[in-house]
């Protein structure tokens, strides 16, 4: 098996403020796969991205991207990777086309040479190619940023929270685009705080406080969920959560949308239902459900 990203014991500590941003990070990304880095804000995702894109030096450990060391071979690496930072960072006072042209030239290539890779994305913003990048909508900005990161046909693409602050429809569209890019042979590392996007990846790493909790394909992570998961719903969700947590056999409980997800240490779920009815929730409904990635993540975090 070939790997396009190999991360070996990477650690990074910041002095001001004193934060252990990354602690012994290890993972590999298979060539041509879509790998997701899932974690809340401040988990260390961006720091890891900056180390892998040669913008930041790690304190310990080493990493290779497309077989090249991120420290020693940073010069060669910079023409092999594409990076889309979390913050929109193109020239707002240049037009769509001028931005694309500029980044193509910086990589010593032309729009035409890389057009096949971006045509599905760029076609959607091409009608606005003379508009200043600063005047584009959020979704269009993101498409332009992706086009600019891809124009030099990188082997590995790094996307740091590409869908943060983007509407649900555009997010879906965006993930379809990623699938197409992957199918053209580009290895993709994407980070996201959205759990629903995790299942769209070939493999995911759950990251929290600079540590990786679990690495596996999403289906494996879900299959590894050890308990039976119940969903409890009722009319007074606030009081219901309080009463559920008072039940003696509760292993975990947390609100999940308008329901409560519950696992038990032992005993029967009927006992919980009885008690809840006694406590004044006659309408309570309890179902057994298949856990989602979010359930797995919350379990791992505890």
């Amino acid at each position: 098996m070939n790997y396009d990203i190999e991360v070996d014991n990477i650690s990074k500590q910041f002095v001001k403020p004193d934060v252990q941003a990354l602690e012994d990070i290890n993972f590999n990304v298979k060539t041509g796969s879509l790998f997701g880095l899932i974690g809340a804000d401040g988990a260390g995702k961006t720091t890891l991205f900056r180390i892998l894109t040669t913008l930041l030096l790690a304190d310990n450990g080493s990493a290779k991207v497309h077989g090249r060391d991120v420290v020693k071979d940073f010069k060669i690496l910079r023409s092999l990777i594409g990076y889309m930072p979390g913050r929109f960072s193109l020239y707002t006072d240049l037009s769509v086309e001028e931005n694309l042209q500029f980044f193509a030239t910086l990589h010593k290539t032309t729009i035409e040479a890389g057009y096949h890779l971006i045509k599905d994305i760029y076609r959607q913003i091409e009608p606005f190619k003379n508009r200043r990048a600063g005047q584009l909508s959020g979704g269009m900005k993101q498409k332009l940023a992706l086009s600019c990161a891809l124009i030099h046909q990188p082997k590995v693409l790094f996307l740091d929270e590409p869908t943060t602050g983007v509407d649900a429809v555009s997010r879906k569209e965006f993930w379809n685009m990623l699938k197409n890019i992957k199918n053209q042979g580009v290895t993709i590392l994407v980070s996201t705080p959205y759990m629903d996007e995790a299942v769209l990846c070939d493999e995911i790493a759950l990251i929290q406080n600079g540590k990786i909790l679990s690495i596996a394909p999403p289906s494996t992570i879900i299959a590894q969920f050890p308990d039976v998961l119940y969903s409890v719903s009722g009319s007074q969700i606030g009081k219901l959560l309080e009463d559920v947590s008072k039940f003696q056999d509760i292993k975990s409980c947390f609100s999940f949308g308008d329901t409560i997800h519950v696992t038990l240490n032992q005993g029967d779920i009927k006992g919980l239902q009885k008690e809840l009815i006694q406590r004044g929730h006659p309408e309570v409904v309890i179902d057994t459900i298949v856990p989602t990635i979010e359930d797995c993540f919350i379990r791992l975090m505890q």
Binding site: T53, T54, L55, L56, L57, F74, K75, R78, S79, I81, Y83, P85, R87, F88, S89, L90, Y91, T92, D93, L94, E98, Q101, F102, F103, T105, L106, H107, K108, C148
Partner: protein
């Protein structure tokens, strides 16, 4: 080369689209260079003079008329006594008091000597100083006239009095614009070079665009050149507008020395100043910080450059600061070449100093600009 061209194209597009900036580049030299030399005029006029004439003779009247005809003074009524006159000084109604004693005319005729008293309000030191000098000069020339009148020609010839007459070299009428314009022009170029280059780089940091530049395979020197060249060109444009349109068109100042010398010095100077701007930008994360840091240095550079006050009259420590101020040398060279027509041999020392500034500042700037951000 193609990469560098793309960087330059991008830079000029951004400047052109930034209306305020584009306006500043054209209007700054025209407006500032037209207004500032007129305002920064050390020639004092309208000095408020009170004359206490205790003599009331034709002679004292003659003296008063002579003083007033000089055009420097406005006569203010201060009453009849010296004490009254001092009160007027306290109220800031008068800058200068001249007291003509009661026996003035008589004593002058009898004894051949008499003394006058001048009192000056030294709240404004320049006004007091310059005003008394003007007044003393007028009195001296009146003195000579009196000698002619009172003493027979033959005796006068033997009296051995020393007469001084001055001639102002390189600026015949001691006009201020020829003195100020080259200096202010030097300052304008400094402001543009220092502020614009540092703000520009910091803006890339603030907008996050530098991240995208950093992950691309662009070389360090390409990035630096991409930032230096546009402002080098803008500096030349601003300087030329100032030199040809304002200095020549408005003030009729034509450099006596060679244009090649002026422009070659400008070139080296701009590289040094732009290097300084780039160096400062590496210490700032936001444009606001960059403005504050640059402002701090610009104030020192401007006030300690010898533009307004001669460096020779500064205390020794201040002279040392001025010696490490690149603006000092550019102003000096500008004045020498424009007013005096100095040649390369005259300014070669300043040439070498500026080359040294350029090398040191740019080396530091390149060293500070790291592609891998820590």
């Amino acid at each position: 080369m193609r990469v560098l061209l793309a960087l330059l194209k991008k830079e000029f597009r951004q400047i052109r689209r930034n209306r305020v900036l584009a306006m500043m580049i054209v209007m700054l030299p025209v407006i500032q260079l037209t207004i500032l030399p007129l305002a920064a005029d050390y020639e004092l006029k309208h000095i408020k003079l009170g004359i206490i004439d205790d003599d009331h003779s034709t002679l004292s009247q003659e003296l008063t008329n002579k003083i007033m005809s000089s055009g420097y003074f406005n006569l203010v009524d201060v009453g009849q006594s010296y004490t009254q006159g001092l009160e007027q000084i306290e109220r800031d109604k008068v800058d200068l008091l001249l007291e003509i004693p009661s026996q003035f005319s008589q004593n002058l005729h009898k004894k051949g000597t008499e003394s006058l008293s001048i009192s000056a309000n030294a709240i404004n030191g320049v006004k007091a100083n310059v005003g008394s000098v003007y007044l003393t000069q007028i009195l001296q020339s009146y003195n000579v006239e009196m000698l002619h009148k009172l003493i027979p020609e033959t005796m006068y010839a033997n009296s051995g009095a020393i007469l001084t007459s001055s001639r102002y070299l390189f600026n015949d009428n001691l006009k201020y614009p020829p003195f100020m314009v080259p200096g202010i022009l030097a300052l304008l170029v400094t402001m543009i070079g220092g502020y614009m280059s540092s703000l520009n780089v910091v803006k890339e940091k603030e907008m996050g665009t530098i991240e995208q530049i950093n992950v691309s395979p662009i070389k360090k020197y390409q990035f630096i050149l991409g930032k230096l060249i546009p402002f080098l060109i803008i500096g030349f444009v601003v300087f030329s507008i100032g030199l040809f349109i304002v200095a020549r068109g408005v003030y009729g100042i034509v450099p006596r020395g060679s244009y090649l010398l002026i422009y070659s010095y400008l070139f080296i100077y701009l590289i040094a100043i732009l290097g300084f701007g780039l160096l400062l930008s590496s210490f700032a994360e936001t444009q606001q910080q960059s403005m504050s840091i640059t402002f701090f240095f610009m104030m020192i550079f401007i006030l300690m450059s010898g533009l307004f006050t001669p460096i020779q009259s500064m205390p020794e420590w201040a002279q040392w600061i001025a010696a490490f101020n690149p603006v000092t040398y550019f102003i000096k060279v500008m004045r020498m070449v424009v007013l005096k027509g100095s040649t390369f041999m005259d300014i070669r020392r300043y040439y070498l100093i500026m080359v040294a500034f350029g090398i040191v500042l740019n080396t530091l700037a390149i060293w500070r600009y790291k592609k891998t951000i820590d």
